[in-house]
Subunit: 148 residues, 2 copies
């Protein structure tokens, strides 16, 4: 159990475990902007796709609709997102990420990439190659996860 000697088979548990560890390392990286987990999650979602309706955000995040409304209000107050009406449907609110909001995500990402780069420097060329070779497969895995 948890042994990966036979590299012809992908042991999901092994993958999940190493993924967990890496996730935690990245989460623990100290960051300049002090924003809550949910706040960052919403911003991140919007950095990938903007605008989005409140309802869409509610479906994606693990908070109630009321929570999202309030969160977006806070984000708007801080100038990280903007609410705009939908010309085709008077009920909906489109949430747009602002340049400032996108910068928050980008700068955090840069920070993580810089940190990661330092760790990766410590790897052998073979290890680097192994990870590089897995990236397209990981990307497809992410796609499969998104479509589910």
């Amino acid at each position: 159990m948890g042994n990966n000697k036979d590299q012809n088979k992908l042991n999901v548990t092994d993958f999940a475990m190493v993924f967990e560890d890496l996730t935690r390392i990245i989460i623990r990286m100290p960051s300049i902007e002090k924003l809550s987990f949910t706040t960052l999650s919403v911003l991140h979602t919007l950095s990938r796709k903007s605008p989005m309706r409140l309802t869409e955000l509610t479906a994606n995040e693990q908070v109630t609709q009321s929570g999202i409304t309030q969160l977006v209000t806070r984000l708007e107050r801080d100038g990280l997102v903007e609410r705009r009406p939908d010309p085709n449907d008077g009920r909906v609110v489109q949430v747009h990420i602002t340049e400032r909001g996108a910068n928050v995500i980008d700068s955090r990402r840069s920070e993580r990439i810089e940190q990661l780069s330092k760790f990766i420097e410590g790897l052998t060329p073979e290890d680097k190659l192994a990870i590089a070779s897995a990236i397209p497969a990981l990307r497809r895995l992410a796609e499969l996860g998104n479509d589910s």
Copy 2:
């Protein structure tokens, strides 16, 4: 930028981005137990190393010492951890994860693994092999991150 055609080089940005996506997919997985992010993070930390002092936990998590004290109090109330004194130092409190606490983490992990397995089924054998081949390297990367 963000192009990974030359697979002999590991593009950290590409890796970070795909990692981000996978993280979010896993985080969004609906889970049975409704526990906050911080709560789960502390439990997870303890599932890897128990006992730990409050101070150690404070250093690892992104909350204040006061926050950890109160969080541990809640976890203890719910029977997920136990406080025990340190015989060698009357000031310290050792936080032990209970069987029940470990079960919370384990069952969530199983859930994630099951979900991941389904996604992975959708990959080609080549992709599976590529990911499997990268696991030892990812593990060493995690070690480098832990030692930093």
